[in-house]
Structure formats: structure tokens, C-alpha cells
């Protein structure tokens, strides 16, 4: 029972994969019989739409400001899809990786998910960095100083402030 389900997934993916490969000019003539089916036609249309959208930015709709962030979070929350490993040529692998990168580049980048050892409340886990006079985290001092210069309503003055702009 499980094996049949698996093989069904397998053939589905292979059809889409081979349509994509065929469009990329990697000839595999044996897809034509599959294209005659309704599913084959849908796959064919979908992959041509994807190709058009990738080539022409006019076809790409611009979603609302929060859409990408929500999508990225939803993807993060998604369970990983476990599919059986199939043999494929290294060239094909590389190409699909590039295609994915290109697709993302035309949309938006968001923050890389930050995994806090399974904790869902990073605010409580904030690392407490050393206090004002400590020499570590020299990078941080510049940021604090820049913040203080531009927006410090309180009296925070970095005691150990180096002449940052001079370096």
C-alpha cells in the first residue's frame, strides 16, 4: 500500500521534471505519450507559465508588503517533504538549483530563519552581552555609538568609545 503511493508520487514528479527538462533543451522524447493525458496538459501549461514569468517581469504580480514574509514563515513551518531519492544527472541538479535562485531573486529576500534550539520564544533567550566598559564585541560598540548619536534621548554615553570614524 505504501509502496504504491510512493510510486505514484514518483511518476508525478518525473513527468513535471521531464517537462521542465525538455523545455530547458534536455531532450527526452519519451514524455510525449504522457502529455496526451489531462495531467500532462496541465503540467505543460504550468511549466510554460513559469517559464514566461521568469523571463518577463511584466507577468510577475507584485504582492502586498507582508506577503513574502508570511510566505517565508509558512514555508519554514511546513513539514519537510520526504520523497524517494532518484537518480539524476549532476547537470540537471545544477540547473534546477539555478532556476530556483533566479525565481527567488525576482521576488524578495527575507531574514534567514533563526533557530533557537527548538525554543519558540527567542525574546526570553536574548544573550546578555557585556557591559559598557568591556572590551569585547568591538563591532557592537560602533552600532551603539551610531544609535546614540542619532537617536539617544537618554544619557547613555559609551565610556570606552573609540574614535570610530577615524579607523
Amino acid at each position: 500500500m505504501q509502496s504504491t503511493a510512493k510510486s505514484a508520487v514518483d511518476t508525478d514528479i518525473s513527468l513535471e521534471e521531464s517537462v521542465s527538462a525538455w523545455m530547458d533543451g534536455e531532450a527526452s522524447e519519451d514524455i510525449f505519450p504522457d502529455l496526451a493525458t489531462a495531467h500532462g496538459r496541465r503540467t505543460w501549461d504550468t511549466y510554460h507559465l513559469i517559464g514566461d514569468a521568469l523571463r518577463n517581469t511584466d507577468l510577475a504580480v507584485s504582492p502586498s508588503a507582508d506577503f513574502h514574509a508570511r510566505l517565508a514563515r509558512a514555508l519554514d513551518a511546513e513539514l519537510p517533504i520526504v520523497a524517494p531519492q532518484r537518480r539524476r544527472s549532476p547537470l540537471r541538479l545544477g540547473l534546477s538549483g539555478l532556476a530556483v535562485a533566479a525565481a527567488v531573486a525576482t521576488v524578495a529576500w527575507v531574514a534567514q530563519p533563526y533557530i533557537m534550539g527548538g525554543s519558540s520564544r527567542p525574546a526570553a533567550d536574548a544573550r546578555v552581552l557585556a557591559d559598557a566598559s568591556a572590551p569585547e564585541a568591538p563591532g557592537l560598540r560602533d552600532y551603539l555609538e551610531a544609535h546614540r548619536q542619532m537617536a539617544g534621548p537618554s544619557a547613555v554615553r559609551q565610556v570606552s568609545f573609540d574614535a570610530g570614524a577615524g579607523r
Partner: protein
């Protein structure tokens, strides 16, 4: 007084509801009367609200003006966690405008000499004068962008009974946030001059995040303008002028959603030792957030690690977005920064 009454009433109501059985009609009738009375008091409080809020906002505005327009000199103490730092401040108005001298009294000597919007930071051990642009008001001023919007995000109350700070009578103002995105504040302003004598930043659990308070202060005619002159002679010192240029992060493809109530007050590009860094400053009138964006060095990474960190009263959140590193920091709760950082998007501007 109403608040006290409410505090008194609620526990009584709660207990009554739990213990008494529904059969005891008299108890329920009493409870209903209580509830009606309570809601009436609520209405009364709401009606009195706007006028009170307006007066409180006017007081905040007066505090800001007092810090700018009066002569004062004194020593104030800044305390955060285990760190205490005291500073001597002299502020004098003369024919040319505002003059201010601030000396750091602990640790390495520093002096900040201000003439209107121009600040010189004196670094004696390097014989260096660092020129700084001036942004916003510092203690005893308030940041205050547009005071009228403050009431949307804070509940501002003035207390009638007087307190005493640095041997002066002062009026307590509590500024409570209406959401979890920002801290609250407790201010004490001089009764005669409205000058801010003490300010505390309060977190959600009513703990003091940081505080600053005058320990001694003189005002008006008791301030000698001679106190403004520095004890250092900076004639042969090196003068550094940091390169700070205006920037437009939105035009570069950055979509940085400001937390509710915060607006962008400034965007600049500045050199920070290792590289050019873009800085966006967001403020809600009292609190400020800086968002720094710089190219990410894929070989060496970034000196700050990803995620939330905290240094003193300042929370920090760092993350990588595409080939950039974003650092958000400010005197706001860590969750505010995390939300900002994780919902920021970078959409590369197409080279058309």
C-alpha cells in the same frame, strides 16, 4: 482615585461570584449594582480622559522646551543594571543660541561641547575632536517627534502629589505603553521650571530598565557661563569629521515595516570602520530604533551573531538577508526588534 476604587472593587466582586450560590439573589443584586456603578465610573473616567491627556502632553512639550530654553547646571547619574555613570552638565542660552557642556565624570575623560546643532566630542587621550551631527534631544530633554501622536500609543498621566529629586519639588508623570511594542516611562519634572529632573524606563513587568536623575542642580541666575569653557585646550588636536550622507533604503529595494506608531525620522549612509553602513532611525516620539544594513561578508561572516542579544538597556537583533546583514537595535522590547527584522524584505532593484 478612580483607579484605587477599582482596585478595591474588583477583588470583592470576584470573590462574591465564586463563593455565593445563584440562589442568593440579594448577593447578585448587590453585584449588579456594583457593576452599574463601576461602568458609570468608567464613563466618567473616559470623559475626563482627553482633557487630562491633553494637559499631560502639554507638560511633555513644556519639559522639552525647558531643556532647550533655560539655564541650568548640575550633575546627573545614569544607572543601568550594575553600571553607574555620572556626568556634569552646563546649559546656557546666550545671544547665539544654546551652548552646552557635558563632561563624563567616570572612566575615561570625555567632553561634549555643543553649540546649537554642532557637537564636538573631545577625546583627550587621542588628542582628537570628533565632530558630531546633533539629532533629537537628550536628557534632560525628551526625544519627542510629534507630541500629539503620543497619546495613541501611550497613556500619559500626571500625579497630583509631589516628589522630591535633587532637593527640588517635582511632578510625577507616568507614561504607560498601550501595547507591548514599547517600554513605559516615569518622569519627574520640576514644579517651578518644568525641567526634567528624573527619568526611568519601565518594562512590561514594571522593572526599571534604566534611569537617569539629577543629583544636584542649579538653575537660572545661579549658572555661570564661565562653566562652559572646557578644561582642555584643543588647538593642536586632530579634528575628525565623520562622513554621513543621506540615503534612501526604499529606493535600494528595502521594505522595512516600522512597528506600529514608529515613523522613519532619518536615513543616512555612514562609514563605520569596516564598511559603509546604512542607518535608518525609527521613532514613536519617545523610543527610537536604529536599523543598520550593510553588505554581508560571506567569507568572514559578521562579527555579531544572529538572533537576539542585549547590552544594557539596549536590545539587539541581527540577521542575514540575502547578501546583507541587518542589525536592529534600540531601547524597545526584544520582540519588537525581532518582529521588525523578520518581516523586513529585500527586493533587488532590477537593472532595467
Amino acid at each position: 482615585m478612580i483607579a484605587q476604587l477599582q482596585q478595591f472593587c474588583w477583588p470583592v466582586l470576584g470573590r462574591g461570584g465564586l463563593i455565593r450560590r445563584p440562589a442568593q439573589g440579594a448577593g447578585w443584586a448587590l453585584t449588579a449594582v456594583f457593576l452599574v456603578a463601576l461602568s458609570a465610573m468608567h464613563e466618567a473616567a473616559r470623559a475626563a480622559g482627553p482633557a487630562q491627556a491633553e494637559a499631560s502632553i502639554q507638560l511633555l512639550y513644556d519639559i522639552q522646551q525647558a531643556a532647550r530654553k533655560q539655564d541650568y547646571a548640575g550633575v546627573f547619574l545614569y544607572q543601568q543594571g550594575e553600571v553607574i555613570q555620572s556626568s556634569r552638565l552646563v546649559h546656557v542660552i546666550d545671544g547665539t543660541g544654546e551652548r552646552e557642556r557635558l563632561e563624563i565624570l567616570d572612566g575615561q575623560p570625555r567632553e561634549y561641547l555643543r553649540h546649537n546643532d554642532e557637537i564636538q566630542c573631545l577625546i583627550p587621550e587621542r588628542k582628537t575632536v570628533l565632530m558630531e551631527p546633533r539629532r533629537g534631544d537628550r536628557f534632560p530633554g525628551l526625544l519627542l517627534g510629534n507630541p500629539t501622536d503620543l497619546a495613541q500609543h501611550y497613556e500619559i498621566r500626571t500625579q497630583d502629589n509631589l516628589h522630591r529629586v535633587a532637593d527640588r519639588q517635582c511632578r510625577l508623570i507616568t507614561i504607560a505603553p498601550r501595547d507591548g511594542l514599547r517600554y513605559g516611562y516615569r518622569l519627574c519634572a520640576d514644579v517651578d521650571t518644568n525641567l526634567l529632573l528624573k527619568a526611568q524606563t519601565i518594562d512590561a513587568s514594571q522593572g526599571v530598565v534604566e534611569q537617569v536623575s539629577f543629583t544636584s542642580i542649579r538653575m537660572g541666575g545661579k549658572v555661570d557661563p564661565a562653566e562652559l569653557s572646557s578644561r582642555w585646550s584643543t588647538r593642536d588636536w586632530k579634528v575628525l569629521q565623520p562622513r554621513i550622507e543621506p540615503a534612501d533604503l526604499a529606493a535600494q529595494g528595502w521594505r522595512i515595516p516600522a512597528p506600529k506608531g514608529f515613523v522613519a525620522v532619518m536615513q543616512v549612509k555612514r562609514s563605520m570602520g569596516h564598511s559603509n553602513v546604512n542607518q535608518l532611525v525609527l521613532s514613536d516620539g519617545l523610543a527610537a530604533i536604529s536599523v543598520f544594513i550593510e553588505p554581508y561578508d560571506t567569507q568572514r561572516g559578521h562579527p555579531l551573531s544572529a538572533g537576539a542579544a542585549r547590552r544594557g538597556a539596549i536590545n539587539i537583533y541581527g540577521t542575514r538577508i540575502a547578501d546583507f546583514w541587518l542589525t536592529a537595535l534600540g531601547e524597545v522590547p526584544a520582540a519588537t526588534l525581532e518582529q521588525l527584522a523578520t518581516s523586513t524584505e529585500y527586493v533587488p532593484v532590477s537593472s532595467q
